[in-house]
């Protein structure tokens, strides 16, 4: 049940480092300031899957959206601190979010396929930059394979993406994100809208993907975290209260809150 960690985390440089990340709402206006995230610092080593868990409202979605600058889409939020991708701060003045998001991809809670064909969905990100049809073709095929969807759609790539089942659509979203060759993939509760069978397939995909990518998984399902992740980070009320190898955190939690959260028993 516990995921075996691949390469030992920490053996090579972390791909993503977060230092003192804080997100505050209402800092500029007269309304009350509220800290959604406070001073979170965390590393994400290569070839790993880190699960970010915590109760509702603890800020885990905001956290993960800060990693690819999607948090800027919500008005009224101020972000301080650093998020470094391979050493470069993504919030640097000279960096545009568009540049960042090709390297750090995201999959959302509900499957959000575009109303076009399966192929065009997967090719979406590629078409923005690449012109060469062969290149696009190859990348789409590869992405669909990596997402574990290729076998099911290879016979008819032109069918409407909306005709796929929920689980297939979500894997298509993963393929779509993978097609632009990111290094990091952020997944915000990707299976919460799926039935158990579809969930299992997405989890299997995630386990395969972590060999090549850095995955950050937000989940409220501790079981899922136990099944697929190498490391777990626990957030509560905007603060990072514990982080470590999955086995360690689940069997020997250091913080009281972690233990309560994992067992579900809040005394």
């Amino acid at each position: 049940m516990m995921a075996a960690s691949g390469a030992a985390p920490g053996a090579s440089d972390p791909v993503l480092t977060v230092r003192d990340l804080s997100v505050i709402s209402g800092a500029r206006r007269r309304t009350k300031k509220r800290a959604i995230l406070e001073g979170v610092s965390l590393d994400f080593p290569p070839h790993s899957l880190t699960a970010v868990v915590g109760p509702s409202g603890c800020g885990k979605t905001t956290f993960v959206r800060s990693l690819n600058r999607m948090v800027e889409l919500t008005p009224g939020l101020t972000v301080t601190g650093e998020v470094r991708y391979l050493g470069q701060n993504i919030y640097d003045r000279h960096v545009n979010p568009v540049m960042v998001r090709r390297r750090i991809g995201m999959v959302f809670q509900r499957p959000t396929v575009f109303p076009t064909s399966v192929f065009e969905n997967a090719a979406f990100g590629l078409r923005l930059v690449h012109e060469d049809e062969n290149e696009v073709d190859r990348s789409v095929t590869e992405a669909l394979q990596r997402a574990g969807l290729w076998e099911e759609v290879k016979d008819d790539l032109d069918r409407p993406a909306l005709s796929l089942s929920g689980g297939q659509q979500q894997r298509l979203c993963i393929a779509r994100a993978l097609a632009v060759r990111p290094r990091v993939l952020l997944l915000d509760e990707p299976t919460s809208a799926l039935d158990p069978a579809a969930t299992q397939r997405v989890e299997a995909t995630m386990q395969r993907l972590k060999e090549d990518y850095v995955l950050v998984l937000v989940t409220h399902n501790v079981g899922q975290a136990a099944r697929v992740s190498d490391r777990i980070a626990v957030l509560q009320a905007g603060k990072l209260i514990e982080v470590g190898l999955t086995a360690d955190v689940l069997e020997r939690p250091r913080e009281k809150f972690t233990e309560q959260f994992i067992t579900g028993r809040f005394t």
Binding site: L73, R102, F108, P115, F124, V180
Partner: protein
């Protein structure tokens, strides 16, 4: 009496009617409920007021058809419109005006769609909410101004600009385009260009509103997914929002066209109504609506003239009704919740 009772009780309860077949359930005869006249009334009365619009439209069609008498007029489908020719029989070619209607409505549709699309994108994608909450109603106000007011403003004021500046400019620089060369534009500034201008302004609030609504229906998730793939706002709009809202955009085109095609008074005031094909875009011509309006009193008593006008009316009605119904159909049909692949 007691004997009868005793005898019937002794015989047991009345036997059930035999079943019609071994497997079907026992049938019982229940008399069909009779609806009282009051109930029939209750069911049908609401239909009467609901179909008043139908009655009016039907009355319109019937009236027009009756006036034409379905008479086969001379030269009805030609382009020669001469009610009182110096020689020969009168010719009632309505094609001139149908062409005129298209000549004004199509460019107006084009301009109003392009501008409307731009405004809608600016409003939905780029401008902050506070600004659009103020600016959007301003565009909608454009629809509230009566046609005559547009007409008089254009006739007295805008036409001077067209006559002195814009038309000569077009004439001098673009005369290589067919239709722009030829006789010099009149100084009055009236004619096709200013008609197109007015119609664009009148169709603009419709197109802007509908495209804006279409773009706003895009779910937030979808929009963010596009951005998360490293696309710019423009790219997500172009590749996701517009395809998603293509139903609304199509209906904007249809309804905007219907508006431009059917506009009567403003066009009548600025188009320099003439019953002939223009030699170039600067001369006067007529649209169906504007001609029907401006010339009705001249047709008094002349049954052929009246019939011709009503034929034009039927054509106008057919086109506007089709376009309007089609436009509304697309709003519901193609809003891209195309579930399960169809």
């Amino acid at each position: 009496m007691d004997d009868a009772l005793a005898r019937s009780e002794a015989a047991g309860p009345e036997p059930l009617p035999p079943p019609s077949s071994p497997s079907s359930p026992p049938t019982v005869d229940v008399p069909r409920p009779r609806r009282s006249p009051g109930q029939w009334l209750q069911i049908f009365v609401p239909y009467i007021p609901s179909f008043v619009p139908l009655a009016i439209v039907a009355a319109i069609v019937v009236t027009l058809v009756l006036v034409t008498g379905l008479a086969p007029l001379n030269g009805l489908f030609t382009s020669k419109f001469a009610p009182t020719p110096s020689s020969g029989p009168a010719s009632w070619g309505i094609l001139v005006f149908v062409t005129g209607s298209f000549l004004t409505a199509v460019p107006a549709l084009f301009f109003s769609m392009v501008i409307g699309l731009g405004i809608a994108i600016a409003s939905v994608v780029y401008l902050p909410r506070i600004v659009t909450r103020f600016l959007d109603p301003c565009v909608d106000l454009l629809a509230g101004i009566p046609s005559v007011v547009y007409g008089i403003w254009a006739y007295l004021y805008v036409s001077t600009y067209f006559g002195s500046t814009l038309n000569p400019f077009l004439f001098r620089n673009l005369s290589w385009i067919p239709g722009v060369g030829g006789p010099a534009p009149p100084l009055s500034g009236l004619g096709l260009p200013i008609s197109v201008f007015i119609l664009t302004l009148m169709a603009l609030p419709i197109t802007t509103l509908l495209i804006r609504d279409a773009l706003r229906t895009v779910p937030r998730d979808l929009w963010e997914s596009g951005l998360a793939l490293g696309a710019t706002r423009w790219e997500v709009t172009r590749r996701v929002s517009i395809p998603y809202g293509r139903g609304g955009i199509l209906s904007a085109a249809f309804l905007g066209f219907g508006r431009a095609f059917g506009e009567t008074v403003a066009v009548a005031m600025v188009i320099n109504v003439e019953a002939s094909y223009p030699h170039n875009i600067f001369q006067g011509t007529g649209t169906v609506a504007s001609l029907m309006f401006s010339i009705l009193d001249s047709a008094y008593g002349n049954s052929q003239f009246l019939a011709a006008l009503c034929y034009m009316g039927l054509a106008l009605l057919a086109i506007t009704l089709t376009v309007n119904v089609a436009g509304r159909y697309f709003i519901s049909k193609l809003s891209a919740t195309e579930i399960a692949g169809l």
